[in-house]
Amino acid sequence: MGRPCDVMTVCLARLIRDGETVFHGVSSHMPMVATLLAKATHAPNAVHLNIPGGVDPHKPRLVSYTSAGDDLLETAEAAFPLQEVFDLSMRGGLDVAFLSGVQFDRLGSVNASVIGDYPRPKVRLPGGAGSAVLIPTAKRAIIWRTKHDRRTFCEKVDFVTARGHVSDIVTPLCAFTMYGGELILKTIHPGVSIEEIAENTAFPIRYLTLEQTPPPTDEELRALDHIDPLHTRNLEFR
């Protein structure tokens, strides 16, 4: 069945299509590894963009304390730093942005700002980083979140940090996709039941067809260990 971190990473990687421009930011080890995995497997011409500005780093030595470090620039081909990645999205040239958040609703709203009241919140969250400008402008915003419970997948987010082009949300239980302006179930990860997903999701689970997420292939697992020998993709599960 694979560890949740591997299933999620592989699931994210497969969402990247060959030739697409793909950006991830800080605190984003899992999508960073997923981007490198996609380039090593089915999407060699995907363009890996990141905060330090290293376009297509050849052999980054991933470190655990950052997904925005100098390793991404060191073996890169060209310099295209954060400011320019944002600009690219603003002018319609970014295909995929990987983002996260703390609450999501069935309309694909993302909350990364506060729990409770905005000016005097119960919980101040880190903030949406790129979300508020990337989710409406990137062609597809792909969300990953390692928590899947009713507070995370809630009826109504406390605050809309951003809404727009969310296309997919990947969790340890399943992959959602946006369909007709609504978040629907796309695939269920190996070993997970639809009841478990429904129990942990505050909005109704709907789907077109019910399929299992294909488990990581041997090739994918080998590539993962090569790319990410320190298992930084698992940091959020530790």
């Binding site: 730093p81 700002s113 905005y118 903030g127 402008t137």
Partner: protein, 270 residues
């Protein structure tokens, strides 16, 4: 003009209440030695500006130095979890969180750098941030009549940037990722540079690699080896895990003071 001074003196030049830009990104090349010295000097009312901050913002909030934070993201990255001091200060109403997208911080700094009072931006089309924050306002394109969002300029009174190399006149070179520091240096009224190494006055002229920050934007240069520690500095050192975890374990103001005392003494990093 020799602008070299010690950390104590450079940080003393930052007035309480200053709009203060911080270089680096999360745990990468943040000016940690200068930040610790600010805490030691008990700065008050600082209004911080940073695209993505981490320990720097957390420590200054812990030390009670901060009035507000304009940023897109404030957190340690995955491994070291959230900025608890920042969070608590915002939740208690002691610090105002001016939440941006990282890009709107960049846009606000660009506006300051370009000498204009606002920058139009795409993005923010569907976001409560535009509704609840007065530094976002609608603006009309005079050519098409289209409405966009405008971000108000942020012109830091001073920014502190940690670089690998600097000369005594203030020319500074950032090796590896520059993050938003070059922009920050242009957007700010003045810049304090802390540097791993001080090079001779002919060094940049003789090199093919020119300084990123020209001397005339800089008011003080401080030689601070390991000045980004416990954070990382490209090409030189990674995160000092034990030191960082020690900081994360602190709780009371007294614990912070004694931790700081062990790390800086009158502007000398120990």
């Amino acid at each position: 003009m020799n602008k070299r001074c010690d950390l104590d003196q450079a940080v003393r030049g930052i007035p309480d209440g200053a709009l203060l830009g911080l270089g680096g990104n999360t745990l990468n090349r943040a000016p940690m030695a200068a930040v610790m010295e600010m805490a030691r000097q008990k700065k008050r009312g600082l209004r911080l500006v940073k695209t993505a901050g981490g320990m720097d913002v957390d420590l200054l909030c812990y030390a009670g130095c901060v009035a507000s934070v304009d940023a897109g993201f404030i957190s340690y990255e995955t491994e070291y979890s959230l900025c608890q001091h920042y969070r608590k200060a915002v939740q208690d109403g002691r610090v105002r969180a001016n939440e941006h997208a990282c890009y709107t911080v960049i846009s606000a700094l660009r506006a300051a750098s370009f000498g204009i009072p606002f920058m139009p931006v795409r993005g923010l089309q569907i976001s409560d941030l535009a509704a609840v924050n007065d530094y976002f306002q609608p603006v009309t394109d005079p050519f098409s009549g289209e409405t966009l969002n405008a971000v108000k300029a942020l012109r830091p009174d001073v920014s502190v940037i940690h670089a690998q190399l600097a000369d005594e006149r203030g020319n500074a070179l950032i090796e590896g990722p520059k993050y938003d520091d070059v922009l920050l240096s242009r957007a700010s009224r003045t810049v304090i540079v802390t540097a791993e190494r001080i090079v001779g006055e002919e060094a940049f002229a003789a090199s093919a690699q020119k300084a990123d920050i020209p001397h005339f934007l800089v008011s003080a240069v401080v030689h601070v080896p390991r000045g980004a520690s416990p954070g990382a500095c490209a090409g030189l050192y990674g995160v000092a895990d034990a030191n960082l975890r020690e900081f994360l374990g602190l709780g009371t103001p007294e614990e912070l003071e004694s931790w700081l005392a062990r790390r800086v003494s009158h502007g000398q990093a120990l």
